[in-house]
Symmetry: none
DNA sequence: CATGAATGAGAGTTCATTCAT
DNA sequence: GATGAATGAACTCTCATTCAT
């Protein structure tokens, strides 16, 4: 019993080790730089070993994406317990942007990486992402229901706010902020977030 | 002299030929599918010939990015002649989104592709992009000067609106709209643009 | 003693288990698809376990060949009890062809597979095969002795008839009958066997 | 003109060089030992070079098979000009066996190798083989038409004789003649061929 | 007795790039 | 100016085999 669970744990640890290395490499070199050999080298195992834990590169990549989705969910979790829908929405947005800026690689993986996205195999990741998204949309709907906005088109409201947050983060993640001096970028992001909140209030 | 200039012209034509092929392939197969041999095949020259016009793949890629920047500038040009700054801003935004949705490959290249971005070599593209961006910012400033908004923080306003537009287009370009039925996506984008315009009016 | 023999028995059973799995896989996927891991998976043991019962892949392969030889001998056995040498010869031939068509995998292994054939290790299989072959040759000799043929060159007669049978089966086993419609192939084989029998009668 | 044809010739020569190496390796190590790198090494080129002349391993293999089919056709050609159908048939058979014994590797490739046999791509080889086979069958039919046999079932006659020849050669090619002393094998084959001819005469 | 874990060697294939002609 | 010919380095993935436990 104890042995089985120890084995289980060791296997899981190895998967995490691999995934961690994959993550690091993805962070440093992007999807193109992520190859089996580089992972193997980093963890000082042979390439063949990787295949004992992940069927192929795709599976590994999906695991990585799932990791990212889970990290995001965890990051947004605190917002969920806020009762007032408007407060919740604002905090949700703040954490979303915060996540993207703090973990650009995770964000990239989730929302910017062009990659083999066979729907079926990546189901788990997709499900997880959908759950988070649904929760977000429901929060907007709750705001509408509570008459926080004049507009009642909750779908468009949700989408519009998402566009802003996604755009903001994406410009950072894919380094398209060069026209702004590095030291001002963070401030600009904060101000912009505040501004969109204000704009939303007048919706 | 005449000969020299003819040579010059021919050289330029060849570069355009190569670039055109590169663009087509990029459009069809993405960055990963873009390789020297496929370009050579399409224009019916040998791979080695490419290297007579572009030092290496990077240089070709930069030229392609420049192409994209020019295409974008051309697309946005009509807005420039609108006198009223607010009208101009709205049209500018509309055209920006329009460009992104109509030419996802160009947009991708400009704002989403992670690529060898050695600043120096890509200067031209950068300059062009900056010009367009400056013009945009100036339009926002003109609106502020003309008291179209209560807020006077033109930098943040410009950035915020850009975030929305960029986010909107990016979600399309990198196919993160799967949770919305395909036939509703266009409508949603239009509604969202209208909404952000309205939100901006109350700034 | 009892313990030792039980161990012996268990060991033999395990070897059979492995061999059975190997056979199935060989049947389904041919020699190329036969690998240690697939065998291990099928019997739900680890690959390493296989090596406790067979030194290496070669040894396992030889055991498989022996199996095939035994299966063939068993298939031909009924002919052995026929007294009349000519009747026996005909039945022997019929059963030989029958075996080949019914068990193309066994036949392939015995007569068509190019494989590591180190003589020494495969001795058992060889001995078994020789016995069957000798019996066949003796039957032909008995026919000659009993003046069933005008010709007395029993070696050539035996060889010639074998060539026909082997050729017939081989064309099936290695799928070189494509020029004949599938539904006619069986009939053709039967007719050909009848014809060679008739031809032999007039020898 | 001269240049183009020289290039053409050089390309063809290189293809032959590769094919020759492939043939040698196939001869020495069978299909399994035939890999791109071994070919490259033998001709002292890099593996990548092979791919300039053959799309992939399959194509190379098909070319090899075609080579074999052509070699066989050429070998059998002399028989075609014999007018008397029976004489032609006998000579055809003699040459068929002769080809198999002299070029066991070619014969193996054509009639014994289990290999990726996608019909479509290998069409040429198949067509060539069919032509030869048809010619053979027609010869048997001509014999029947000329009343050389009592039997009129030309299809079965053709097939039966083929079985014998194929069996005879196959036993040599796949080395299943070990029970006969090496020095007697050739003689045995000759005698057997004579015997089947005689048997056929009494059909 | 059995195995989980690991690997070295090697498979086919692709690609950016070079260079003599 | 153009290219045919070539390649080194890289890629993903598979397999027989070993060995400490």
């Amino acid at each position: 019993m104890g042995i089985a669970s120890r084995k289980e744990r060791e296997k899981a640890e190895m998967r995490r080790l691999i995934l961690g290395a994959a993550h690091d490499i993805f962070k440093e070199n992007g999807y193109d730089g992520l190859n089996i050999r580089s992972i193997a080298e980093r963890i000082e195992y042979s390439p063949a070993t990787i295949y004992l834990y992940y069927k192929d590169k795709n599976e590994l990549f999906f695991a990585l994406q799932y990791e990212a989705a889970a990290a995001k969910r965890d990051h947004l979790l605190p917002a969920a317990s806020i009762e007032d829908p408007w407060q919740r929405l604002v905090e949700f947005g703040r954490l979303y942007v915060d996540f993207g800026l703090k973990h650009p690689d995770w964000y990239d993986l989730l929302f910017l990486t062009r990659a083999p996205m066979e729907h079926i195999e990546n189901q788990d990741c997709w499900t997880l992402g959908m759950a988070t998204h649904s929760f977000y949309v429901e929060t907007v709907e709750a705001c509408v229901a509570a008459r926080y906005f004049k507009s009642t088109d909750s779908a468009t409201i949700a989408y519009t706010l998402w566009c802003h947050a996604h755009g903001l983060v994406s410009l950072f993640v894919r380094e398209r902020m060069r026209m702004y001096p590095p030291e001002e970028r963070g401030e600009l992001a904060r101000k912009s977030f505040a501004m969109i909140v204000k704009m939303a209030e007048s919706l």
